[in-house]
């Protein structure tokens, strides 16, 4: 006989899960009892939101499904932000929540919340398991749904009596999951691919625009091969950074609101835009009708609903980006010279390199740049959200996929630190940095306790400007510098870290940046770096909200 809790833990192990992130509570007591002498590693976080973000960071760094566990009611509700974050960025996680016993469902019982109802719009799918007999196959389905097609979070809600009830149960032999209502298209339509290739060779000013879909389908090698075979320039979204090396001569860097001028000008002048695993988000397109308005559009995406959602497309190709790119590469036999176009792009790149004031003042861009130099493309960089995120995107040179982890779609402050913990468990041999702001870091600062207790060697580099910097920047530019509730009081983060048992250094001058970064990298355990940076530095260039993306302001310092 096996209880539901035993079936759950065994099932997780059968799915290849080694580490889960969670927080115990009343109705998950039977599950925690099962974990007590299980070989499954459980990391106790200090807030359930961190468990969801850690599972997400694990998934992004490893490409596997991340798992988090929380109790009913408040525990489950605390997962919500993390689940929504994973949903917006198509990250495969399975969130397991306890629920009040089935006999009490709907009675406003203690710590009851309708978590399947609450997470309906932010999960790819969810389950309320009412019979212990269903638990095993629900778990299999959940992992299958989370990790295939357009990936995403799946939640499983387990009432207490379902996890305590003992039943006769043997796991069925691993046969593929079949669901009548879920059959993602993997192979792209051959004729559509032919048409796309035709269009590519008709174009004079083609541009590849690649997004997070390339990372999540592990299609970076194919993408790079396409770029080099065709000799076509590429720009990536925030989520696509690392898909091709930042210093590749055909890479224009990120496009969009804080993208490079060369990328945004190239989109505007291109006559063919090849969108690969990207979704024409408003932070990318700016004013939609002026976005790539001279271009025909090829759109390759696993999710048919993304095609034509924001922008009319000439050649839609539904399929997994890796598979579609492989099929394309086989069919491409020739190469065309785009000399005029490439030299025009080179001109922009040379004229508008990323730049900030190099005047001896400790500026946040300098910190990121130095870290990038030191790591030389190694390590995993996680960010919080806001200015810290954009400076990292602009000044860190990403060379490999899955080395850049950030909350793009939802823009969740507080994401970075716990996600960095998750990334460490995915890649224990890699140095993991969370590049943070003082605002974001304080949203999940309690996880200092988790990294201290478990000696999780995450390094936090706080770009401390005592502002909610990105909001302050908008207030400076668009609200007459009326800094309404964006100034934060000074915090001595080294003391805070020390209180939790974590080492740290405060850095106040340019000369101390590199030694401090080296000290952090050289430490075996977690480390906090408190960089007291220029307070009113802005992220430039910038496309004001609602403007066309070639109407950029700022960012030219010679």
């Amino acid at each position: 006989m096996k209880t539901g809790a035993r079936i759950l833990v065994e099932g997780l192990q059968r799915e290849g899960v080694e580490t889960i992130f969670g927080y115990p509570g009343g109705v998950v007591l039977p599950i925690y009892d099962e974990l007590y002498d299980s070989s499954l590693r459980h990391i106790l976080v200090r807030h359930e939101q961190a468990a969801a973000h850690a599972a997400d960071g694990f998934a992004r760094a490893s490409g596997r499904v991340g798992v988090c566990l929380a109790t009913s009611g408040p525990g489950a509700c605390n997962l919500v932000t993390g689940i929504a974050t994973a949903y917006m960025d198509s990250v495969p996680i399975v969130a397991i929540t306890g629920q009040v016993p089935t006999s009490l469902l709907g009675n406003d019982a203690f710590q009851e919340s309708d978590i399947t109802g609450i997470t309906l719009p932010i999960t790819k799918h969810n389950y309320l398991v009412k019979r212990t007999e269903d638990l095993g196959h629900v778990l299999r389905e959940a992992f299958y749904i989370a990790g295939t097609g357009r990936k995403g979070p799946v939640l499983i809600d387990i009432p207490k009596d379902v996890s305590t009830k003992p039943i006769e149960y043997e796991f069925p032999e691993a046969e593929p999951v079949t669901l009548r209502g879920y059959q993602p298209t993997i192979r792209g339509h051959a004729k559509q691919i032919d048409k796309a290739i035709e269009l590519i060779f008709e174009a004079e000013r083609p541009l590849i625009y690649a997004g997070g879909g390339v990372i999540s389908s592990d299609a970076s090698a194919e993408l790079l091969a396409l770029v080099e075979t065709l000799g076509i320039p590429i720009t990536t979204t925030l989520m696509g950074l690392g898909a091709v090396p930042c210093d590749h001569p055909l890479n224009l860097g990120m496009l969009g609101m804080h993208g490079t001028r060369s990328a945004n000008y190239a989109v505007t002048e291109s006559d063919l835009l090849i969108a690969i695993g990207a979704r024409f988000d408003d932070r990318v397109t700016g004013k939609l009708d002026t976005f790539a308005s001279q271009a025909k559009i090829i759109h390759i995406d696993i999710d048919p609903a993304e095609i034509g959602k924001n922008k009319k497309v000439d050649i839609p190709i539904v399929g997994d980006t890796k598979s579609v790119l492989q099929d394309m590469l086989v069919k491409i036999q020739k190469k065309k010279a785009y000399d005029m176009w490439l030299s025009r792009i080179r001109g922009w790149k040379e004229k508008h390199p990323p730049s900030y004031r190099r005047d001896g003042v400790l500026r946040p861009q300098f910190v990121v740049e130095q870290l990038s130099e030191l790591l030389k493309g190694e390590g995993i960089i996680v960010s919080e959200v806001g200015q810290n995120q954009m400076w990292t995107a602009q000044y860190f040179c990403f060379r490999k996929p899955r080395t850049w982890i950030t909350s793009g779609g939802l823009g969740t402050m507080g994401y970075g630190f716990p996600a960095a913990m998750g990334a460490h468990f995915a890649c224990p041999d890699q140095v993991v940095f969370d590049i943070a702001g003082d605002g974001s870091f304080q949203m999940n600062i309690q996880e200092l306790s988790t990294v201290a207790t478990n000696n999780i060697p995450v390094k936090v580099a706080i770009l401390n400007n005592r502002f909610l910097g990105m909001v302050r920047q908008w207030q400076e530019l668009f609200h007459d510098r009326r800094y309404s509730f964006t100034e934060l009081p000074p915090v001595d983060f080294v003391k805070v870290a020390n209180a939790y048992g974590v080492d740290g250094i405060k850095v106040e001058s340019v000369d101390d940046v590199v030694p401090a970064l080296k000290a952090a990298i050289g430490t075996d355990g977690p480390f906090v770096l408190d960089f007291r940076v220029e307070r009113e530095e802005n992220v430039f260039p910038m496309v004001p909200a609602g403007a066309a993306i070639n109407e950029m302001i700022g960012g030219n310092y010679e």
Partner: protein, 167 residues
Amino acid sequence: MKAHTLSVLVENKAGVLSRVSGLFSRRGFNIESLAVGICEEPDMSRITIVCIGDDAQIEQVMKQLNKLIDVVKVSDITENERVERELALIKVSADPGSGRAEVMQLATIFRAQIIDVGAKTVTLSVAGDTEKIEALEKLLRQYGVKELVRTGKIAMLRGAKTVKSAK
């Protein structure tokens, strides 16, 4: 912008209706009517949805519906030859001697059934397409419609064609 009739085949699972209807509200799509019930396939239900939108919006509605794991098949049958029915129950003020006879005459003309007669009211049951029901309701309004219940439209393709699984 025009009304589209969607026939949606779904797994008969708890919460499937809230998944479908929730999708409409959160993505800002307008539902005119929604009718749901079990169908010829075991473990499945068929939902008929009438919604209003331009072609791009309807395409997005269908694609988003298709993404729901419990949705097996979505068909827009607006442009197809089809039969449609809706059922309405209408309670009309009809004092004996002041209009009752006329109400009953209207019922006959519209092939509606009188399913309840009270001291001051009669209740009609009428089935048909939306236009017919609306026409009858309009005519009955002068006598005083005390209560009206409509099922929402159900629809089916004409001839041998069906809306079946194999998504």
